[in-house]
């Protein structure tokens, strides 16, 4: 679990302190978000890197399947703007292909984490009582195990590919959204409109989806953004530990860790491009998350 999640948890213990910003117009938060220059800059970075990764290969053709002996670790220059890596792949083209898997896994894992977390948290918070207590102790127990250790284990049992990474990372990351949404659900379930809906005979699943989840959407979206940032770092760490994706598939974390084998040989173009891509993307998603948190008026603590 990342520290961003820990600190979110700490401030999530008092959901009563949030401002009721939604009431004053649905689009107000969008204006609040766009007035935050850092958050907009983050959004621009994400869009640019996404376009670079997914549309780039249509304009910049490189062979990312076959290794080329004799073409390895060429310096950046004509023909290869960012040089070639240790098996002769064009580094720029590799950055695009790696960006695709990085972003796919990050978004996918965040989606898995948020879906499981929201369902678990909303159910626990809405039902309350003993069920809630038991469900949240399970969350506590899983939170007590460092995600990286769990991932080490899972990655040895299941061979990693894109889909497996999405599921495995998602399965270790749903705990924080679960706690956040559960805190929201605890206060929401005592609101008059929820009570009214219940007396009118709305079924529990409908009620949870229509009222609890919908009204926690701010919290959910903000957390999802941080989850994307976290997933990128987690996948990078897994690649470094040798449990990433098998070549020729790659991601930025795998490129970076691979390049780090040459720390002693001054091949700076093997590490800095993927490293900077990771830092830029993670910073961008954290800025977007911060911006949205402020825009939704979720956390009055952070100024």
């Amino acid at each position: 679990m990342s520290i961003e999640n820990v600190t979110t948890l700490l401030s999530a213990e008092e959901p009563a302190g949030r401002q009721e910003a939604e009431a004053s117009g649905g689009w107000l938060w969008l204006r609040a978000f766009t007035s935050n220059r850092l958050a907009v800059a983050g959004l621009v970075v994400v869009v640019v890197l996404t376009l670079f990764s997914f549309l780039g290969p249509f304009f910049y053709h490189t062979d990312q399947i076959h290794t080329r002996i004799g073409m390895e670790t060429l310096r950046p220059g004509t023909g290869h703007p960012l040089g070639t890596d240790d098996v002769g792949y064009d580094q720029m083209g590799r950055l695009m292909v790696a960006g695709q898997t990085t972003l796919e896994v990050a978004f996918g894992a965040a989606a898995v984490a948020v879906i499981i977390g929201v369902a678990w948290g909303a159910l626990a918070g809405y039902l309350g009582g003993l069920v809630d207590a038991l469900m949240m102790r399970i969350v506590d127990a899983l939170l007590a195990i460092p995600a990286l250790l769990l991932l080490l284990y899972l990655a040895t049992v299941f061979r990693p590919n894109v889909l497996m990474l999405i599921i495995v990372v998602g399965l270790t990351a749903w705990l924080v959204p679960a706690r956040l949404v559960r805190a929201e659900a605890l206060t929401l379930r005592t609101r008059e409109y929820v009570l009214a809906a219940r007396t009118m005979g709305v079924r529990t699943p409908t009620l949870i989806v229509r009222h609890i989840v919908t009204n926690s959407i701010g919290t959910i979206v903000v957390n999802a953004t941080f989850q994307v940032a976290d997933a990128i770092l987690v996948v990078a760490a897994l690649s470094f530990l040798g449990l990433g994706i098998a070549p020729p598939a790659t991601n930025w974390g795998a490129m970076l860790s691979n390049g780090l084998n040459y720390t002693y040989s001054d091949y700076w173009w093997l590490t800095y491009p993927p490293g900077i891509a990771i830092v830029l993307t993670v910073v961008a998603f954290n800025l977007i998350g911060d911006g949205m948190r402020d825009a939704f008026g979720l956390d009055t603590r952070r100024q």
Partner: protein, 321 residues
């Protein structure tokens, strides 16, 4: 207070039991079960049956769990067939090293991050506040292993100030060669500072906006006295909770750091166990770390309740503000 303590301890016991069930469940997740994982793919059904009988792996799952739990409670964490040692003795060798690395780094991180956060909050919105925020933000967004290798690149390869490998061998090797500990400790410290400083800054900002600060100022207390005597004390109590909850985060950091510097702690033990399919060891580490984390957050909650009389003890899930 007593009721709060009992309630919170009971909760911790439940969580520890759940951790043990999760670990037990994980060991059953293995394709073919633990016997297949340990004996290898060529084991005959007879061998597997014999292994299962010897290790209490027969009968219904709850009975197996009970057998395993009894072993754990008497200090029997299983046996590493790869390292040919009981898991408990491996843990006893490695645990102090990780505790030392994590402990020194966290103490350093708090000693640095708290004054920095205080300074940032006081200078809020000025150039130096933004500069520090930018640095910690970027550091926070950088993979820990890259931070470690950049430190090696600069301080070990180019400047030759500190060695790139951590001290090996027994625990006393750390003290005979303290220079070799600098880079591992620096890595974990930097990563932890990056994580803490943002929270400390906003925690101090929160306190600065309180009425008691205005009150102290209007009766003529000096700025320094307000900060040190009032604000710092109040801003520190959430940090105690943060410390308790960040144990898994810090241990993830030490795992990476141990791997980079080849520092023989439980992180490296777990990593090697994972690559060599040595599941008893890996699960032993998971269990011990899980228990340590539960204990950590229990201590943090109690410490927080002791430090801050405003805490409502009756609240669910421990101390709430």
């Amino acid at each position: 207070m007593i009721r709060f303590l009992i309630r919170r301890c009971a909760q911790a016991v439940v969580v520890v039991l759940l951790v043990s069930i999760i670990v037990f469940g994980l060991s059953r997740l293995l394709p073919g079960g633990p016997a297949r994982a340990i004996l290898g793919t060529h084991a005959t059904p007879t061998n597997i049956a014999a292994f299962n009988r010897e290790n209490g792996l027969t009968g219904p799952l709850p009975a197996q769990y009970w057998h395993w739990l009894n072993g754990v409670l008497t200090g029997n964490f299983g046996f590493s067939y790869v390292l040919n040692q009981p898991v408990s003795s491996l843990l006893a060798q490695r645990l102090p090293k990780t505790a030392f690395l994590a402990g020194v780094s966290v103490v350093l991180a708090v000693l640095i991050a708290v004054p920095v956060g205080l300074y940032q909050a006081v200078r809020r919105g000025r150039a130096d506040d933004y500069a520090v925020t930018t640095v910690t933000f970027v550091l926070y967004s950088t993979p820990a292993f890259w931070v470690a290798l950049l430190l090696i690149d600069v301080l070990a390869v180019r400047l030759h100030v500190f060695p790139a490998e951590a001290p090996q061998g027994s625990f006393s090797a750390i003290f005979s060669d303290p220079g070799a500990m600098v880079l591992p400790v620096l890595t974990v410290t930097l990563v932890t500072i990056a994580a803490f400083s943002r929270y400390i800054r906003s925690s101090v900002l929160d306190e600065l906006a309180q009425d008691y600060v205005r009150m102290a100022r209007s009766k003529g207390t000096s700025r320094g006295a307000i900060l040190l005597r009032h604000v710092l004390r109040n801003a520190l109590s959430p940090v105690v909770t943060l410390l308790g909850l960040s144990l898994p985060f810090i241990l993830s950091g030490t795992l990476i750091t141990e791997q980079v510097f080849n520092y023989p702690g439980i992180g490296l033990l777990a990593f090697n166990a994972a690559t060599q399919q040595d599941y008893p060891v890996l699960l032993g580490v998971v269990l011990v770390v899980g228990i340590a984390t539960v204990a950590g957050s229990l201590l943090a909650d109690i410490g927080y309740a002791l430090l801050d009389p405003r805490v409502q003890l009756a609240s669910d899930g421990g101390a709430a503000r």
